[in-house]
Amino acid sequence: MEVSRHWRLKKQRYALQGEVCPHCSVKIFPPRDICPDCGLDARTPFQFSGRGEVYSFTTVRDAPEGHSEQVPYTVALVRLEEGPLVTAQLTDLDQQDVEIGLPVEMVTRKLRSDGERGMLVYGYKFRPLLRPAA
């Protein structure tokens, strides 16, 4: 697995760091340096709050290599409160029914390990709110 690719992606992957368009204020994730709305240059870093809600989801029982120790797991499209849709695994779900609209928050967890000797890869997942909003 390409160690250098993990390294380049770490800011967005560990902490949901994206971009904000300086022209139209659209928040961008993942970062792509060009605003999807107005097409102009957008390179200003933006730290997402990590809060959002489940937009859609599916349960994975047959996992790709490196993820097999975590099966079954749920992957969701999460609508971040700042706008973008993000694909991520849901975690800390036990005995909890996932449903569309479930409020979730970002946590940083182990995404995969490249065998016993490889690198541990960390990144964002989402979980049901630890403390329901007051």
């Binding site: 560990y14 730290q47 120790e69 800390d92 940083t108 182990k110 995404l111 541990l120 630890l130 403390r131």
Partner: protein
């Protein structure tokens, strides 16, 4: 003439305090009765009610990140102002490659920072606090982050398996006048004592049965507490809360009584019966639990213990700022209350006690 002992008191030239703190405890719980069911046919007493177990995607790095984010929320500071990220643990995921750099990156403290992992059995977290007091108190840094976090492991069937838990806390140290609680003084005590060890390539620790009680835990904890109280002219009656390292319920309770504390003074910081022994996390998560309820003006005593062996003791005084800050992140009880019970088989899977290939 005999030299004064007063120079044993550790006190920086600038006053230092805790500007933010945050706990983390994973959501799974293994009841001690479940361990007894597997290994003792359900017979005999159990030392605690249950212990916290990390999820399959959690380790010291992910748990430290969440605790640090909670501490940052309470401190309300820019993470790029943190000049040291220090993680104390017995269960760093890598043998070589620091946990602290991942934590520092994830919370936004990189790149203008010192990052290091600390090791001293169960007192690795308070070692990091002692060093951070010096780092901030000398004026070298405005803020430093000290973490104590563990995912403790006991050999299946060993007495330790009832209690080896997971959890800990992160503490951000900074200038006293911005603090939620400030350090009045601290003291450290260490001797070479062979009570507990794990060789470099071994998964589970060994313990010298005869050594764990009197010459190890009690000698170091009692001496550190007595010395610090003597050096600061305080006594048990001056402390609203006292937090000891807690490998089980009996040791800290007995240490408290021997020092003249009432059981009520230990109550808020004694979590071992519901989360287990969280090793390097133990004294710090106890402190976090006390900071969740302590009142301005109250004095706190924190005493750690690490096998090998040593104790660090701290006297803290709570400020007015604590009351507002503590609402800004989940409390220790929020994590304790978030509870999913698992059976021994699930626990074995989560903790990698089964070999799949």
């Amino acid at each position: 003439m005999e030299q004064s002992n007063q120079d044993r008191l550790l006190k920086p030239s600038k006053q230092v305090g805790i500007v933010g703190y945050g706990a983390y405890i994973p959501r799974y719980r293994l009841p001690a009765s479940e361990v007894a069911r597997i290994w003792a046919g359900g017979a005999g007493g159990v030392p605690i009610v249950e212990k916290a177990v990390p999820g399959i995607d959690e380790d010291v790095i992910t748990m430290s990140i969440e605790a640090a984010r909670n501490a940052l929320a309470r401190a309300s500071i820019d993470p790029s102002e943190i000049r040291a990220v220090w993680v104390g643990s017995e269960s760093h995921p890598y043998s070589v490659k620091p946990s602290s750099t991942v934590v520092a990156e994830a919370i936004g403290a990189t790149p203008h920072t010192l990052a290091a992992d600390w090791e001293f059995a169960c007192k690795a977290g308070t070692e990091a606090i002692q060093a951070a007091i010096g780092f901030v108190g000398s004026g070298m840094a405005r803020f430093a982050l000290a973490i104590g976090m563990d995912t403790a492991q006991g050999r299946p069937g060993d007495a330790l398996e009832y209690t080896t838990g997971a959890g800990g806390a992160a503490i951000i140290l900074g200038p006293s006048d911005e603090s939620l609680a400030h350090f009045e003084g601290s003291y450290s005590y260490a001797t070479d004592t062979p009570d507990f060890w794990r060789r470099a390539d071994e998964k589970y620790p060994e313990h010298g049965e005869r050594f764990t009680g009197e010459p190890a835990y009690f000698k170091h904890v009692l001496t550190a507490a007595k010395e610090l109280m003597s050096l600061t002219n305080t006594g048990p009656e001056d402390y609203a809360h006292v937090i000891f390292h807690q490998p089980n319920v009996k040791f800290p309770q007995r240490a408290g009584r021997m020092l003249g504390f009432a059981d009520e003074q230990l109550e808020a910081g004694l979590l071992v019966s519901v989360i287990g022994n969280t090793y390097a996390g133990s004294p710090l998560v106890g402190l976090a639990s006390v900071l969740d309820i302590a009142e301005p003006g109250q004095r706190l005593l924190l005493v750690s213990y690490g096998s090998g062996a040593g104790s660090d003791a701290f006297s803290l005084s709570v400020t007015d700022r604590l009351v507002e800050a503590r609402e800004k992140a989940p409390s220790t009880q929020d994590y304790i209350g978030r509870r999913t019970e698992v059976d021994y088989a699930t626990y074995a899977r989560y903790r990698g006690k089964l070999t799949l290939s």
